[in-house]
């Protein structure tokens, strides 16, 4: 069964308009179909399949992050067209479409205005290559559509070469009949032609507004019809919707007659920048009319994505393995961290940390790790590569003076283009942000540098980013795992600092790390990946009995030396205990767990103290 055939049902149904509840029914139908096992894997994904291989007006899915929310727009939900030859009036449906059929009767009293909103969506920033690859492979396995299109590719290129010279409108003219998409041949020529009419120079001045530099992939304007309030900025979603790449949408400001612009008030409302941001060429930024969106808890393709029975079965089967996988991962990380077992332990805890709730302004569960004493010479870079191999989403921010002064970390509202210009801190939940402070050199931070550092500090302490709206700031909570690598103690705050104590000093660091990495089988790495994503999602509780024990312990510790343990330390130890339990697959805190947490925290503290006294002795 192919989903996009279904899609065509919806439009004729609308035209007859016999049943007012058809809209709800359509949604029900799609949701029902997609809930069925594997059915969602039949839908081609915009993330994997190049745009010009996808049929316009077919059902596609898109795994993305909501980067910006545009203003709501009113569209013709139902409109009437007049056939010029027969003078017959036909009611048509404008939902899930960008463009009307020709001959719209603007004065018709049957016109129904409806509201929808546009979200600007980008692929999940910092998605690790392995995650992309795996989801691509799993998609290619089941999607038949991608296989047949390339065979026709050559012919379609020839066709549109001709079309380029002639009027591109000619093609659209026979589009009058409602089922224009029935003709698959035309479909294919249309899509690539819009691709080629927007050559590279066009895309260069069109900023797709990805949060991270060097990102690739399609950005998408998603038209949302239902449940507008349930979506938030920076949500990660898997959107199922109807793809629309009508070249009519590609009309750019350039070809507008300036005199016309002056006289027509509706045109002059938008600055060219705004037009470019809100109406980019459909070939570069396709439109997607959302039928159904599923919020993603994670973007790890190795895990079942939906919280179904499927998943719980998967979880319980994996729980058994958890302890052993943890041991293997720990060993692996110990190797990576040059034989430092304690640091490896902390790194592991950091990787499964997650802000699970907030008490008024206080985010609970965050665990920012500062690995100090990192060897220089691209060690951190390699370390990042290894982290990247393990987590589905990550980004390495090299904190060199230049990047701190020049890079835009905090998203800023551009009122001229009326969009939110993204910054590197606009990240999806549970992204691993790797701050490489070893790159920092002496010099002066300018005002934007100071602002960037402040933003990073806020991110670490409060797990929030204050987006710059020029006249005011707006606070967006986030959930980002921050790992800071530095030589000495980091200048940024952190929940926990671990000085790295290498046990081995390999003569060639690169080679050493590469061999460690190569030694792991893919299946092993995959296990680690599942482990890290899964441990994060587990529930956790503390029994009254253990609560009591912890209290007693705290009082005892304070009795000996009130300075040694503060409330902050208790906070941290509780987080460590939580992560430690979860990392072993235990969902309640046991006495042992607490003791272990205390123990490793003590080890860590003695190490930092040692470090301090060492530094203190230095002249």
């Amino acid at each position: 069964m192919r989903m996009w055939f279904v899609c065509r049902f919806c439009c004729p149904a609308a035209q007859s308009n016999s049943n007012p509840e058809w809209e709800a029914k359509v949604l029900e139908y799609f949701k029902g179909q997609l809930r069925e096992k594997e059915s969602h894997s039949w839908v081609p994904s915009l993330n994997d399949v190049p745009l010009h291989y996808l049929k316009p007006n077919s059902l596609v899915k898109f795994r993305c992050l909501v980067q910006d929310m545009f203003d709501p727009e009113f569209y013709m939900g139902v409109y009437e067209t007049v056939d010029p030859s027969t003078k017959a009036n036909v009611l048509r449906c404008g939902k899930y479409k960008d463009v009307t059929e020709c001959g719209v009767d603007l004065n018709s009293r049957n016109t129904v205005t409806a509201e929808r909103q546009t979200f600007y969506c980008v692929p999940i920033p910092g998605e690790s290559p392995w995650a992309k690859e795996i989801s691509f492979l799993s998609a290619a396995r089941v999607v038949p559509s991608t296989s047949y299109v390339p065979s026709r590719q050559k012919r379609s290129y020839e066709e549109d070469d001709d079309d380029m010279d002639t009027q591109p409108q000619k093609q659209r003219e026979p589009h009058t009949e409602p089922h224009g998409n029935g003709d698959s041949k035309r479909q294919e020529t249309e899509a690539p032609s819009s691709q080629t009419t927007a050559p590279s120079d066009c895309s260069s001045h069109l900023d797709l507004n990805f949060p991270l530099p060097g990102e690739r992939g399609p950005a998408c304007l998603v038209k949302v019809y239902e449940g507008l309030d349930s979506f938030k900025l920076n949500d990660t979603l898997e959107i199922y919707g109807i793809l629309s790449v009508n070249p009519v949408l590609t009309v750019l400001g350039e070809e507008k007659d300036p005199s016309l612009l002056l006289l027509n008030p509706t045109e002059s409302m938008e600055t060219p920048e705004e037009q470019r941001a809100h109406d980019p060429p459909a070939s570069l930024v396709p439109r997607l009319h959302m039928l159904y969106a599923r919020p993603l808890q994670h973007n790890n393709p190795l895990l079942p994505s939906a919280p179904t029975e499927d998943q719980s079965a998967f979880v319980s089967s994996f729980l058994v393995e958890m302890a052993s996988v943890r041991a293997e991962l720990l060993a692996y990380l110990t190797h990576v961290l040059l034989g430092d077992g304690l640091a490896a332990e902390y790194l592991l805890l950091h990787l499964i940390s997650n802000v699970y709730t907030r008490r008024d302004v206080l985010p609970l569960g965050k665990f920012t790790l500062n690995l100090s004493g990192c060897p220089l010479n691209s060690y951190t870079e390699r370390l990042y590569q290894i982290v990247q191999q393990l987590v589905p989403c990550s980004y390495r921010l090299s904190m060199s003076l230049h990047t701190m002064n020049s890079m835009r970390l905090v998203p800023k509202k551009d009122y001229v283009a009326n969009r939110l210009v993204s910054g590197a801190l606009q990240l999806a939940r549970n992204t691993s942000l790797f701050l490489d402070e070893t790159q920092l050199e002496q010099g002066q931070l300018d005002s934007s540098g100071v602002r960037n550092i402040t933003a990073l500090g806020n991110l670490i302490s409060w797990q929030k980013v204050d987006y710059d709206f020029s006249y005011h700031q707006m606070e967006f909570p986030c959930n980002i795992n921050v790992l800071v690598t530095s030589e000495g103690r980091s200048l940024l705050p952190s929940d926990c600092q671990v000085p790295l104590q290498p046990q081995v000093t390999p003569p060639n660091m690169e080679e050493y790390l590469t061999t460690i990495h190569m030694a792991q089988f893919t299946s092993q790495i995959n296990k680690f990946r599942v482990y890290l994503s899964l441990a994060r999602t587990l529930d956790y509780s503390i029994s009254d009995e253990v609560t009591k024990a912890v209290e007693d312990d705290f009082v005892d510790m304070r009795k000996d030396d009130p300075q040694s343990v503060t409330a902050e330390d208790l906070h941290r130890m509780l987080v460590v205990a939580r992560l430690l339990s979860l990392s072993l697959g235990q969902t309640t805190l046991s006495r042992d767990g607490w003791m272990r947490a205390k123990h490793i925290d003590m080890l860590r503290r003695s190490r930092t103290e040692q470090q301090k006294s060492l530094n203190g002795n230095e002249p």
Binding site: D71, P72, E73, F74, Y75, M76, Y79, G94, K97, D98, V99, T100, E101, C102, G103, V104, L106, N107, R109, T113, E115, R172, D229, F231, K232, L233, V248, L249, L260, L263, N264, P265, T266, S268, M269, T357, R359, D360, V361, L362, K413, Y415, N418, V450, Y471, M474, F476, P477, Y540, S541, V550, E551, F554, V555, R558, P562, T566, A567, E568, V575
Partner: protein, 860 residues
């Protein structure tokens, strides 16, 4: 219905259809030619852009100019129709509304592009219109003389009559709007306003919609639903009334009615397609204004051959250029004469949702607003405004050559009335600037809460529940959130009295000071959070910058000004540079901010409470030192804080246990349990907002007595030891705190309980911060002069000892610095630090006894 009625109406409609279906062009031409013929009669008149000459012979001109561009759904039948048709609107005078009788004649009508500049899509085409018009006639005949404007239920006559009655009779004795200042509240309000117009000559009548509603709900409904038809009717009514009363007044143009405060006030988010073409009031913040756009209303064409001229109205941004001159039949001979065409001013304004109205986690929406004529340039970017206007939607046209339309409407608001919500802040009267509306139920819940005896404790424990204990500090902050009563003594020359409570938290690092600050910042609507490390003086106050767009110098306000009426949270107060701190002096007592830079000299209001947090200089609080020594802040600044709290680690077992319990609970309690335990943050917010807005407690007799006693007591403590232990500033603090406490109870009177609590809290804070570590006494001079009385005495002694020593040496004009220091040390029995020695030297230098140059000390 007679045929003349339908033809012109039809023609108007079909003209609109031109761009869509060019075939209808033919249909349109005959009537439009007729119109041109009519226009040509006054075509020789000098072209006055916005005020066509008024002539009794050309009522049609008025009519078309006033309604030159309403939506063409036949709402207004052109007046020529009225004249010829047997159907009439109300009284004859209303029919020729532009020029009724007497004085009106001399006053030109001004176009109202705000009501009709943008045409609406749903128009009726010729086929469907005729039968429905007949239907209207039929119903009219059935219901007697009840004709309504097409498409609405508005009868012009009745509507006008109702509005006139409203103007003549409406009285609002309880009005407290500042617009009505100086008016007699027991007289008809709007008649007084008309009188004002006759005196001032500004022909605009602002009408509060809530008045209309309370007077006549039906009229209000019509106004909201059909503003485009009803407002012109109101205009007519008001002009008739006005010129009847003041026949001799001369106005620039006829009075325009500007309704505001449509009760259907919404935020931008809740606008939906049903609001199209209705009158709405929304609030928001201006983010961009365009330059002035001269919008052509009427194009003036002149034939190059025979100088025959003609006028063409602009239709949806287009001018249909006449191809043939009707006089000499030359083709393509007509040229546009720009300076005889009629233009009107227009400005595009972008408004963004105000941050308070938004759900968390979403981006603010923006709306485009068009201001016309004299509303142009009324607002600036950054202004918070309430806009009353008509919501419009226009279909997009991608390409004139293309027939497919993008199925999206462009929406905007044609503004009728602006009201700046923050305008009053500049004037200084701002008791009710937060126009936050509370529902009845909400007020009820709040009052119930206030009636509880332990409301003070409840609220203070609801404050930052994640922070453990520190009850007194939370209570202090709670009182700060409520603030005192604002008193104005400017008549007697003392200016405003500070009502805001300032609090300083100092203490060990890691005692969740920042967390408290963050919490407060998140709680109050106009809070600002800055860190002393990262902020400069200009960042706090205001700076002048060049606007990138207009190239003008503009004043950008900083955190302190932005938090006017709110709380400015300053973290790391001790790390602030001295110059930055110095600006706080003025803000924290006078509550204003004077700026003199780049040619801009002004004084801004900064009635902000300051909540600051400072760390001790030596990273750990040294209990052996005074507060001043610990945090190294100038005492002039410290004395401006009403309450200074120390947040120290109490180091006691029972406390530890409770703390541990609290923290562990934090880590496993579910959301629901948390909800049960504490007051909702939203309730707390509303409670504070309500109290701040509506409760203004005053001291009663006993409370004043109690305050006096308290002050006298405080003075007494010190006088026993020969020190001043309290200053009037402390008394003022006490009053503020007592008032705030009364506000917490929702009480209009400050009673003895409030004073008791204020005293207690003040004492607690003093005990923590103003205890002299050497003697153990509370010594207010630590905070007011920066030095405890004993320390001062000590300093004096050292100076005297040094002087004596130098004198005992005899006549040595110069001495070595180091040697002198060593000698003094040897001589004195108490340890003398270098600091003390230097201080002593300085003291002697001040007495002109000696001078210190480098390493040598010279006697004078």
């Amino acid at each position: 219905m007679s045929s003349p009625t339908s033809t012109p109406v039809g023609s108007k409609r079909s003209r609109d259809d031109i761009p869509v279906t060019p075939s209808s062009d033919g249909l349109a031409s005959p009537p439009s030619q007729r119109r041109r013929g009519q226009d040509s009669s006054n075509g020789d008149l000098p072209a006055m852009p916005t005020s066509p000459a008024t002539d009794i012979a050309s009522p049609a001109v008025h009519d078309t100019s006033l309604f030159s561009s309403p939506r063409r759904s036949g709402n207004f039948l052109p007046s020529e129709v009225d004249m010829s048709s047997p159907l009439m609107y109300g009284t004859p005078s209303s029919r020729v509304e532009g020029t009724p009788r007497s004085g009106v004649r001399g006053t030109p009508v001004r176009q109202r592009p705000d009501l009709g500049s943008a045409r609406k899509a749903p128009q009726v085409d010729l086929h469907t219109e005729l039968p429905s018009a007949d239907g209207a006639v039929a119903s009219e005949q059935a219901a007697g003389q009840k004709l309504v404007i097409w498409g609405t239920d508005v009868n012009v006559g009745t509507c006008k009559e109702k509005f006139q009655r409203f103007l003549q009779r409406f009285i609002d004795p309880t009005s407290n709007e500042d617009e009505n200042a100086g008016l007699d509240l027991n007289e008809p309000l709007y008649m007084q306003k008309l009188e004002e117009i006759s005196v001032i000559g500004e022909p605009v009548l602002n009408v509060n919609c809530s008045h209309v509603q309370s007077f006549d709900a039906d009229l209000y409904r019509q106004l909201i639903s059909y503003p485009q038809e009803v407002i012109p009717t109101f205009d007519m009514a008001v002009n008739e009334l006005f010129f009847e009363r003041f026949p001799d007044s001369i106005l620039e143009h006829q009075i325009q009615v500007r309704p505001y405060n449509a009760l259907k006030t919404r935020n931008m988010r809740s606008l939906n397609p049903e609001d199209i073409d209705q009158m709405i009031t929304i609030s928001g913040m201006v983010i961009r204004t365009s330059q002035l756009i001269p919008e052509m209303q009427e194009a003036f064409f002149q034939c190059q051959v025979c100088a025959f001229s003609t006028r063409v109205e602009v239709d949806r941004g287009r001018i249909a250029e006449p191809a043939v001159c009707r006089n000499c039949n030359t083709t393509h001979s007509l040229a546009l004469i720009h300076n005889r065409s009629a233009f009107s001013d227009k400005q595009m304004i972008k408004v963004q949702e105000s941050p308070d109205d938004m759900p968390a986690g979403q981006t603010p929406h923006t709306t485009i607003v068009y201001a016309h004529n004299d509303l142009v340039d009324k607002v600036q970017p950054g202004d918070r405004i309430n806009i009353t206007g008509i919501y419009r939607a226009v279909p997009m046209r991608e390409n004139p050559r293309q027939s497919t339309v993008k199925s999206v409407y462009k929406t905007h608001i044609d503004v009728i009335h602006f009201r700046k919500t923050d305008e009053k802040r500049l004037h200084g009267l701002d008791e009710d600037s937060d126009q936050k509306l509370f529902t009845e139920e909400r007020v009820q819940t709040l009052k119930e809460l206030a009636a509880k005896p332990d409301v003070y404790e409840r609220l203070s424990s609801a404050l930052a529940p994640s922070i453990y204990e520190q009850e007194d500090i939370k209570k202090g902050i709670l009182l700060q959130l409520f603030g005192g009563t604002r008193k104005d003594f400017s008549q007697t020359g003392r200016g405003n009295f500070r009502a805001e409570v300032n609090i300083l938290l100092c203490g060990d690092p890691g005692t969740s000071k920042s967390q408290l600050l963050q919490y407060v910042f998140n709680l109050v609507p106009r809070g600002q959070y800055t860190s002393g490390k990262g902020s400069s003086a200009v960042g706090l106050t205001a700076y002048v910058m060049k606007d990138p767009e207009t190239k003008q110098l503009v004043l950008q306000t900083g955190a302190l000004v932005l938090s006017d009426n709110g709380i400015c949270c300053i973290d790391e107060f001790d790390k602030m540079s001295d110059s930055t701190r110095s600006v706080l002096h003025e803000v924290m007592e006078q509550q204003t901010l004077s700026i003199a830079k780049a040619g801009i000299i002004c004084q801004l209001n900064a009635r902000t409470s300051v909540l600051a947090a400072a760390n001790p200089v030596e990273s750990q609080w040294n209990p052996k030192k005074t507060t001043i020594e610990n945090i190294q802040l100038p005492h002039t600044l410290l004395s401006r804080f009403d309450l200074i709290f120390l947040m120290l680690d109490p180091q006691d077992e029972a406390y530890d246990r409770r703390l541990a319990h609290h923290l562990v609970a934090l880590y496993y309690q579910s959301e629901e349990q948390i909800e049960e335990e504490f007051l909702d943050m939203a309730v707390l917010k509303d409670y504070i907002a309500y109290a701040r807005t509506y409760i203004n407690p005053r001291l009663n007799e006993e409370a004043s007595q109690a305050l006096i006693e308290a002050y006298v007591d405080m003075r007494k403590i010190g006088s026993g030891r020969g020190m001043v232990s309290a200053y009037p500033r402390q008394l003022e603090s006490l009053i503020r705190l007592a008032e705030a406490h009364a506000k917490v109870r929702f009480s209009d009177k400050v009673e003895t309980v409030d004073v008791e609590e204020a005293k207690r809290l003040h004492r607690e804070a003093l005990k923590q911060s103003a205890t002299d570590p050497r003697t153990g006494f509370v010594d207010i001079s630590i905070l007011t002069t920066g030095m405890s009385a004993t320390a001062r005495k000590r300093k004096e002694e050292v100076a005297q000892a040094l002087k004596k020593m130098i004198q005992s040496r005899g006549k040595t004009p110069a001495m070595k610095y180091q040697q002198l220091f060593d000698d003094l040390r040897g001589q004195s029995e108490a340890a003398i630090t270098k600091d003390m020695f230097e201080e002593a030297l300085r003291a002697l230098a001040d007495e002109d006894y000696l001078t210190v140059t480098g390493k040598t000390v010279r006697l004078l």
